[in-house]
Amino acid sequence: MSDELLDMTLAEAAAAVRERRVSPTELVRRCLERIEAHDVTLRAWITVCADEALAQAQVAEKAQRAGARVGPLHGVPIALKDNIATRGVRTTAGSRILADWIPEEDATVTARLRAAGAIVLGKLNLHEFAWGGTSDNPHYGTVRNPWNPDRFPGGSSGGSGVAVAARMCFGAMGTDTGGSIRLPSAINGITGIRPTYGRVSNHGIVPLAWSMDTAGPMARTAEDCAILFDVVAGHDPRDPTSARQRSQGCGPSLRDSICGLRIGVIPGYFFHHLQPAVEAAVRRALDVFDTLGADVIEIPIEHIHGNISAQLTIESAEPSTYHQHWLRERPQDYGADVRALLEVGELMLATHYLQAQRYRALLREQFLAAFRKVDAFVCPTLPFTATPVGATTVCIENGVEESMLSAIMQFTGVASLTGLPAMSVPCGFDADGMPIGMQLIGRPFEEASLFRMAASYQGVTDFHSRVPAMITARARPHLSPVQASCSIAGVGQSGDGHEDLPDSGRRGAVPVRLLA
């Protein structure tokens, strides 16, 4: 019975609660049991709010019994990456520096999820301050992949990817700067979307590189992600980077046909320098789209090369600005890799940063021109499958070892730089049984089109519904101490107590939109 409940998608769980076939308390209890059984190995959680979640579940049941109007996520347990503020619950950003930060208010996305009826089960582990792609966290434990705990889960939203894949919650929120939603989605075999930059509020989210930071949903299916997206998307006057574009709701068009859709593939880039199993899986996915009536078209992007350098430049300079004070006052409190990257960002030249920003304008211009001929692009989410835990290099082809950080962003950096919406969808497994993801990239503010593509694909494939073998194995009895804790104090401890975000000494996350 418990597996049947946890095997429901978020959409199914919401419907089951709405129709009173299952109670929110039962869902919360099952999730907590799953966490207790497996998180000692997987380390996906930093804080589990067991008591609060059970209390919320009882309130949800009372409201339903009283005939109250309920939201689309009523009684559904979800979780948040731990760089997203939660009122009264510590928000660490995976760091020692913010280990004791207890926000006074919810991030906008947290508040919107709660208003829609979601039950927040807790806070998920991540790469420290979201600055990295492995989720090998020196302060809260190394997150491990449920498909094989000896492999890494990707990052930086590794805990979100693992918690969803291991059926510990029905959906999660991640954040994505250079690929941090899409990478762990692909590597853990789930679905995740980085919405258009500005579509989802960043208010109350600890920044990384604020000209690219974007929060978004991670869940089992495209439909689940669409439900979460419709709840969290929309203008927020408290976020200076928030777009005013209205979201029409993605649910109604989810089942529409994709017949006639034009899918672009960039020759010489999207299928260049990647593992054979990844290429084969994504090419098979293109065949599926073809069968569904889409047209696959090769379309060059002249200046596609250079994006990884631009990505690394911006993604190193902006975080180092936010962290400048802490890096001088508390350098020993950073993990070794993040400290080194923050020091590197301090030394990037202004001309390098500005040329990278100029390149973004060029790349965006070329993608928008290409969108006159195609409706979306399809490519691998990343060029390789999960590497061993702790690896800092990866071998993609010809036995050559290369840096994990630049290799992992080979295909995700494009959407980060241009601000385009991009989604990772499970599309296969390699010979070792590790998941493979494909990336769909769409026009600005046309997330609905990506959800429709992904839902069509998931309607005729089953990669998204497969379950890691370890999850069906016998439960383990122990819960590690750090995961058993839950902060419920109501007093903020962020700097002077008046900021919505912890401040490293200066006001952070200032958008540098110099010219309109």
């Binding site: 350098s309 430049t313 890096l327 840096s403 503010f445 939109r513």
Partner: protein
């Protein structure tokens, strides 16, 4: 390493020798890409002088 030390000094960042080595190694890997991007961008027209840091956003797509 002297170059990196000079930059760190300019940034008022006190890095001991062992950290200068770590940072210098990463910069050594990244700077060639930056220089290549400099060359690419030096050939382009003035319209890309716009310092866009919010590239797909709001008003121009409403």
């Amino acid at each position: 390493m002297n170059d990196v030390a000079a930059l760190a000094k300019a940034a008022d960042l006190r890095l001991p020798d062992e950290r200068l080595v770590i940072v210098g190694r990463i910069l050594g890997e990244w700077w060639p890409g930056c220089v290549e991007l400099n060359r690419k961008m030096s050939d382009l027209s003035r319209r890309h002088l716009v310092p866009v840091t919010v590239p797909v956003h709001g008003d121009d797509h409403e």
